[in-house]
């Protein structure tokens, strides 16, 4: 393994702890306000969340395939899979944007305009904390996704220039690692934010 890959893994450890601060806050407040969190999570659309999880997993698969294609010098496949990843990533972000918009319409943005309908009054007080965490965590995740989309675009351009082959594919591999990491973050965010309470299909 070369220095680049080790550097990427080191960077990912940093990222783990970056998100870790927010996960710590989440754990603490979920312990403090278990019922408020459960009640508040009913405002999350589980179906959309699950679908988006699937979309992200698809993008991970295409990314893994892209790395594989680069490793066996199949540039046309590489480009195709990179476009696939870019496509799924964009879908995820677009869906996320619609979710944010829905939250805005339902007055679920923490702050003076926070007036969720149908939330039991005893949870009104602490509900903002979950939504604040929701926006921070998914927002930070989305920022990482946007960066990832930019990196993918860079990879596609370079792949068109035949930059990658079995002798040199480190950038594809490293951006792949990054992309999978972002996927892993979402794998935890989905159950923690959407599935606190109970829901029905």
């Amino acid at each position: 393994m070369d220095a680049d890959t080790l550097g990427m893994w080191t960077f990912l450890i940093t990222e783990v702890l970056f998100f870790g601060g927010m996960f710590a806050a989440y754990a603490v407040y979920r312990e403090m306000f278990p019922l408020a969190f459960a009640a508040t999570s009913e405002f999350m659309n589980v179906k959309i969340g699950a679908a988006n999880t699937a979309v992200l997993i698809c993008s991970s698969l295409t990314m893994a395939m892209a790395v594989r294609s680069a490793q066996i010098s199949k540039t046309s496949h590489l480009i195709r899979y990179l476009f696939g990843t870019l496509f799924f990533g964009t879908i995820f972000l677009v869906v996320k944007a619609f979710e944010y918009h829905a939250k805005y319409v339902e007055h679920l943005i923490p702050g003076p305009n926070f007036h969720p309908d149908n939330l039991a009054p005893q949870f009104m007080h602490n509900a903002q904390i979950l939504f604040f965490l929701y926006f921070c965590m998914t927002g930070m995740h989305a920022v990482h996704m946007i960066v990832g989309v930019g990196l993918l675009t860079f990879l596609i351009i370079m792949a068109y220039r035949n930059a990658y082959n079995e002798h040199y594919f480190a950038p594809v591999e490293m951006i792949g690692l990054y992309w999978h990491f972002v996927d892993i973050v979402w794998i935890f965010l989905f159950p923690l934010l959407y599935l606190i309470g109970h829901w029905h299909w």
């Binding site: 040199y168 690692l177 989905f190 599935l195």
Partner: protein, 118 residues
């Protein structure tokens, strides 16, 4: 990034079948975790949800990210990251879960001796 990386002739190229299998498992587990949440299992819900999430994350790291095929050093780095993350989570959490054992430091709180019985 420094881009003078050289090809490693020993690089492991995963089989397409493996990748697809992992993908399918991940999708299935996503469905399972959403489905489990429709049942009220009490404390078990969060354990199952986190258990499934950990399994999925491990799968992604192990196969997609290729931890399985990399050096001991990478594995050590992964473990180190998780260890320090758990230090942050566990010790912070331990403060909040033992604060109410003494009288005065309770934030808002419900009473400790009774806990939050269901």
């Amino acid at each position: 990034m420094s881009s003078n990386a050289s090809a490693n002739s020993h690089v492991h190229i995963p089989k397409v079948g493996t990748l697809i299998a992992v993908f399918v498992t991940l999708i299935v587990l996503t469905f399972v975790t959403a489905e489990v949440a429709t049942f009220d299992l009490g404390e078990l819900n969060v354990i199952v949800a986190l258990g499934i999430a950990c399994t999925k994350a491990t799968l992604v790291a192990w196969i997609f990210m290729g931890v399985r095929y990399t050096s001991q050093l990478t594995k050590l780095f992964c473990v180190a990251g998780l260890v320090f993350l758990s230090i942050l989570l566990l010790i912070t959490f331990s403060d909040y879960s033992t604060r109410h054992w003494t009288y005065h430091a309770r934030p808002w709180a419900t009473n400790p001796s009774l806990g939050t019985s269901k």
